[in-house]
């Protein structure tokens, strides 16, 4: 506990001394996200401050994946979390989809890359729980999944999620209290995302045609048991 307090104070002080704020990226009731510039090197980094659990960010400190931002530092004290992470330069998928839906080929490529990002998260028992176009940044040809504020580690003893997190329309039914969300909740959201990329619509309104439409259907089954068992299975299917 003493170590945690120390690193929290240390990181807070380092942010003030070594960085300058470029602009706020997002502010809400649970916290804020800010773009910072490292004074000495000019490197841009993202700084998150929110209430909740930083356990997933803590795990990500030790992983490297080109479809996830590099988490540089995280600190936690009395339910408040600080995170310093790589800034991903690019357009959000949300921005691109405003122009037009994507081709099946482009959709497939992006979904496979998001599966690779989720494979890392799921491998240590984490669930992202907020997969949506705003949380996917396209860095040249790479899709990078960001924002793990809603993410949590799957604890089999819990019967259901006590706090509803995630974005409506993309979140799986179990995130609304049917059962605890596990990795298959992310598969549900990936299915919705895939459909939105292909048609611009939620699958309950307009399902994508053909083979990918069937994949979307399988991903968005209300019963998690009927969805793909893992992102690897989903990658196999598409």
């Amino acid at each position: 506990m003493r170590r945690r307090s120390f690193i929290y104070a240390w990181l807070s002080s380092v942010i003030q001394l070594e960085f300058e704020e470029v602009r706020p990226l997002k502010e809400g009731p649970r916290g804020g996200v800010f773009l910072l510039r490292h004074k000495k090197t000019g490197r841009l980094l993202v700084f998150r401050r929110f209430s909740g659990s930083g356990e997933v960010y803590r795990k990500l400190l030790h992983y490297s994946c080109r479809n996830l931002p590099e988490v540089l530092e995280t600190a936690e004290q009395e339910g408040k979390v600080l995170v310093l992470e790589e800034f991903i330069q690019g357009d959000t998928l949300d921005f691109l989809l405003k122009a037009a839906p994507l081709s099946p080929k482009a959709t497939r490529e992006i979904i496979i890359q998001l599966c690779q990002a989720l494979w890392v998260l799921h491998s240590f028992g984490a669930v992202h729980r907020d997969i949506k176009p705003e949380n996917v940044i396209l860095r040249e040809r790479e899709a990078v999944l960001i924002d793990f504020d809603a993410a949590r580690l799957h604890k089999p003893a819990h019967e259901n999620d006590t706090v509803v997190l995630g974005t409506t329309g993309f979140a799986a039914p179990e995130q609304y209290g049917l059962s605890q969300s596990d990795a298959r909740a992310d598969i549900y959201s990936l299915g919705v995302l895939m459909n939105v990329m292909l048609t611009g619509e939620h699958p309950s309104r307009k399902l994508a045609d053909g083979r990918l439409g069937r994949v979307v259907q399988r991903c968005t089954q209300v019963n998690p048991e009927k969805r793909y068992r893992s992102v690897i299975h989903l990658m196999e299917a598409i």
Partner: protein, 421 residues
């Protein structure tokens, strides 16, 4: 204290990055596998000795065949026991003997079947080392049956290949291509044969089960459905005979249905139609949805015209699109664990347009988009919603209602794109 490996700055022991050069100072993992080399070195001499003794022993024996009729085989060679296993990529040490595939008829499908080779004692990937002792791996389907009848499907597999860029640790990938031509259940056995350079043969078997998911579509030409009684009889018949996972689409004639209709067996999609005068399929009596399971029923392009009472009562999931509901005490009532979504619907001249009273809803979407609520005493009544997520009414028009939204449960709402006149 410790030093930054990039710039030499002094850092606290707990630090994961260097504030001086803004770089990470932790060692990051790219792969989940961990080398156990130090243990091998420790026991190296013993292992080499054991391997030599075992090699001499195996050389002196005739070639063997290993086949226990399952998706797993254990094979001893050069002092090491290997587990050969057809498995899922995320559980490479768990044999996967039966693979089930539900598919629509005439759908060309393909999926991979993965062979993993692991160290039997540690579970670690041992494919690279083992494959150096393999002459060839082949795959074929050796039996195909459908309740004793000639199978009504196409089924084939590609030769096994190693594609480490796809699933890094898989020793081989065999792609299975299939297409069911008719309804039914089919099964076939995939036989994977590994021929070793020393003459031994290892066989693994995986049973592939295929199930055709049926879709039933009914039009007035297929079944009588001009009255509520006829439609109810059709629903009862489908409830008795259709599979629980079947998709059922009923295209209704442009008639007025009188009396109550009950959907209590399975989810059904009802599609209305227009006659030459522009009159649409209409229900003048109440419609009840009370089937179990989470499948959503879709009602589209239907009028619900009442004179009091409740138009649509749902304790199952329902999605209404382009429907018109008028003249009811309550046009749509959603209760228990059900959820109702409406889009492009018109609610007019009702006591209550949409009444939500759920404790633990099975919510599928929080958006009620493009609707019109006009001339209702209360357009939307939120008695209990049961989820914390905000409900949205984008592009929905509220006009001339006594009360637009009676939010007595204090549900969070997102009315950014809602139009109030």
């Amino acid at each position: 204290m410790k030093a930054c490996p990039h710039c030499g700055a002094v850092l606290p022991d707990e630090a994961s990055f260097c504030p001086s050069c803004a770089k990470s100072v932790v060692i990051r993992e790219k792969s989940r596998s961990h080398s156990r080399l130090p243990a091998r070195i420790r026991y190296g001499l013993l292992a080499v000795l054991a391997a030599v003794l075992l090699a001499v022993l195996i050389w002196s024996l005739p070639p063997k065949t290993y086949d226990n009729g399952t998706a797993e085989a254990l094979y001893d060679t050069k002092g090491r026991t290997y587990q050969l296993c057809i498995a899922w990529a995320d559980t490479p040490t768990v044999p996967f003997s039966d693979r089930y595939t539900s598919t629509a008829v005439n759908f060309d499908g393909r999926y991979p079947s993965l062979l993993f080779i692991n160290d039997a004692s540690t579970g670690e990937d041992a494919a690279e080392e083992f494959l150096s002792q393999v002459e060839r791996i082949s795959a074929e389907f050796v039996s195909l049956s459908a309740d004793g009848k000639q199978p009504d499907m196409r089924l084939s597999c590609t030769p096994p290949t190693r594609q480490t860029d796809y699933v890094p640790h898989a020793a081989s990938i065999t792609y299975v291509d299939y297409c069911l031509w008719n309804d039914g259940d089919y099964e076939a056995q995939l036989l994977l044969t590994v021929n070793m350079k020393n003459g031994d043969t290892i066989r693994l078997r995986q049973v592939h089960h295929f199930h055709a998911t049926p879709t039933y579509t009914y039009t007035p030409k297929d079944a009588p459905m001009n009255t509520t009684e006829e439609l109810q009889a059709l629903l009862e018949e489908l409830g008795r005979t259709a599979e629980s996972d079947a998709e059922i689409n009923i295209h209704l004639p442009p008639v007025a249905y009188e009396g109550e209709l009950v959907l209590n067996r399975l989810a059904v999609n009802l599609y209305g139609s227009l006659d030459q005068t522009g009159a649409r399929t209409t229900f003048t009596g109440p419609v009840y949805l009370a089937y179990s399971g989470g499948v959503v029923s879709f009602f589209e392009s239907i009028d619900f015209t009442g004179s009091g009472g409740t138009g649509v009562s749902a304790s199952s999931r329902l999605h209404l699109t382009n429907c018109r509901l008028s003249g009811w005490d309550t046009a749509v009532f959603c209760s228990e664990s059900a959820w109702v979504n409406t889009d492009q619907c018109i609610f007019s001249d009702n006591g209550v347009g949409l009444h939500i009273n759920n404790v633990e809803p099975n919510i599928s979407d929080s958006r009620f988009e493009g609707n019109t609520f006009q001339g209702n005493q209360t357009a939307v009544l939120l008695e209990q919603v049961g989820v914390e997520t905000p409900l949205k009414f984008p592009s929905t028009l509220f006009s001339g209602n006594g009360t637009d939204i009676d939010n007595r449960c204090g549900q969070e709402l997102d009315l950014d794109r809602t139009i109030f006149q």
